[in-house]
């Protein structure tokens, strides 16, 4: 229906089809048809002007917002920063220590950056809190038996994009290893479960 709105020349050809073919040599009809020739010349001129405008706008330093705009945007983002949920690491008489999900995620991503051929994406971290340990166990059978010391148990769910051609099982294992080492070193608690999901391939 909308195609009927496309302007047409007297000879019946649409502006659209001429535009689509201005990079090619004229058809037999176009060589004969005065209207087509005129339209072609006009559209060629428009095409050149469009290209020139695109290029000059792209490089025109006047066509940029002042630097304060970026800072203002980042100020708002910082003020409304999302840290995710908080995870209780330790409760003691001295005081409690908790960590934001985001702090944990950034540690996980930093670890992941050490593995070539993988870009980490979203990271969700679930927690079985310290102390609440055994009481809240658990839909998974077989995990309740032993009395583990009351530390939080993390479940890290990391989604990643992989480089094309990479050996995914090998990469995922290396990633899991790296993260499992980084969490005790960086936070001071056991890594718990690390789940890796390869959701995409990225272009190199």
């Amino acid at each position: 229906m909308a195609l009927d709105n496309i302007p047409r020349l007297g000879c019946g050809r649409s502006i659209d089809s001429i535009w689509a073919s201005i990079d090619r040599s004229p058809t037999a009809h176009e060589e004969q048809c005065k209207q087509c020739q005129t339209a072609r010349i006009q559209l060629e001129r428009l095409s050149a002007a469009t290209r020139a405008l695109r290029e000059s706008d792209l490089h025109d330093p006047a066509l940029r917002p002042r630097p304060g705009i970026k800072n203002a945007i980042m100020d708002v983002a910082r003020a409304e920063v999302r840290r995710g949920s908080r995870i209780l690491l330790r409760a003691a008489d001295n005081g409690a220590t908790e960590i934001s999900e985001q702090a944990l995620s950034s540690l996980v991503r930093f670890a992941a950056a050490a593995i070539p051929g993988v870009h980490s994406r979203r990271c969700r971290i679930e927690i079985r809190p310290a102390s609440a340990g055994l009481a809240s166990e658990d839909h998974q059978s077989g995990t309740t038996g032993t009395a583990t010391p009351a530390g939080p148990r993390l479940i890290v769910n990391l989604r990643v994009a992989a480089a094309p051609g990479i050996d995914i099982p090998v990469m995922a294992e290396a990633l899991r290893q790296e993260i499992s080492n980084a969490i005790p070193a960086g936070v001071g608690i056991a890594a718990g479960t690390v789940n890796i999901t390869v959701e995409d391939l990225y272009d190199v």
Binding site: A2, N5, D16, M74, R78, R82, A161
Partner: protein, 198 residues
């Protein structure tokens, strides 16, 4: 005072950067702001012909995107989404300007017309003087400003920013086929205008 989180690799693909920004990573978001602020400004400036208004669009769009990011289902859709937000904000501004100009004219108070806002920059442009313009591009932008707002948005998104028909259609709430028709009319009108130059 930029926050650069750990492990922010400069050669990350955009999908991964978007995913991290969704998780609240400020460094990743800053990267997106840097990647899109100029493009959005060029779009907004060509739509509105006012630096201040265009800067407002850039700021509002990217600020809004920070809050909306977690809801974005597909990380690869970020570019289309951000252009859609910005385009619709521009169209809102133009609608408000038109309404304001109308009410002012209706009140017979001609002195109250805010020049830069109510009268677009092309108002004084005369095709006969086109030869005096140093560059044909200036004439092109002048003609562009004679197009209805949605048509202009359509042309800018396609010709200046290379957005897809499908994406432009979603932005302007029309079918991809209608985008094609709108573009053809825009090109036709601009080409006609240009043909009057000497």
């Amino acid at each position: 005072m930029d926050d650069h989180g750990p492990g922010f690799e400069p050669d990350l693909d955009e999908g991964s950067i978007v995913a991290r920004a969704q998780d609240g990573d400020l460094a990743a978001f800053e990267h997106l702001v840097l990647a899109y602020q100029f493009r959005l400004f060029r779009l907004a400036y060509r739509m509105l012909n006012d630096r201040g208004d265009a800067e407002d669009i850039v700021q509002e769009t990217l600020t809004t995107s920070w809050c909306g990011l977690p809801m974005l289902a597909d990380v690869d859709a970020f570019g289309g989404w951000i252009f859609r937000l910005a385009t619709n904000k521009c169209l809102d501004v133009l609608r408000k300007r038109a309404a304001r100009a109308e009410s002012i004219l209706g009140s017979d108070d001609m002195d109250a017309i805010p020049g830069a806002r109510a009268s677009p920059v092309w108002a004084g442009w005369d095709p006969a003087h086109a030869a005096e313009w140093s560059a044909e591009q200036d004439g092109l932008t002048a003609l562009l400003n004679t197009l209805p707002p949605a048509q202009r948005a359509c042309w800018l998104l396609r010709e200046m920013h290379g957005r897809s028909y499908a994406e432009i259609g979603v932005t302007l709430k029309i079918s991809p086929a209608a985008v094609r028709g709108t573009l053809a009319r825009a090109r036709h009108q601009i080409a006609e205008g240009m043909s009057q130059w000497r």
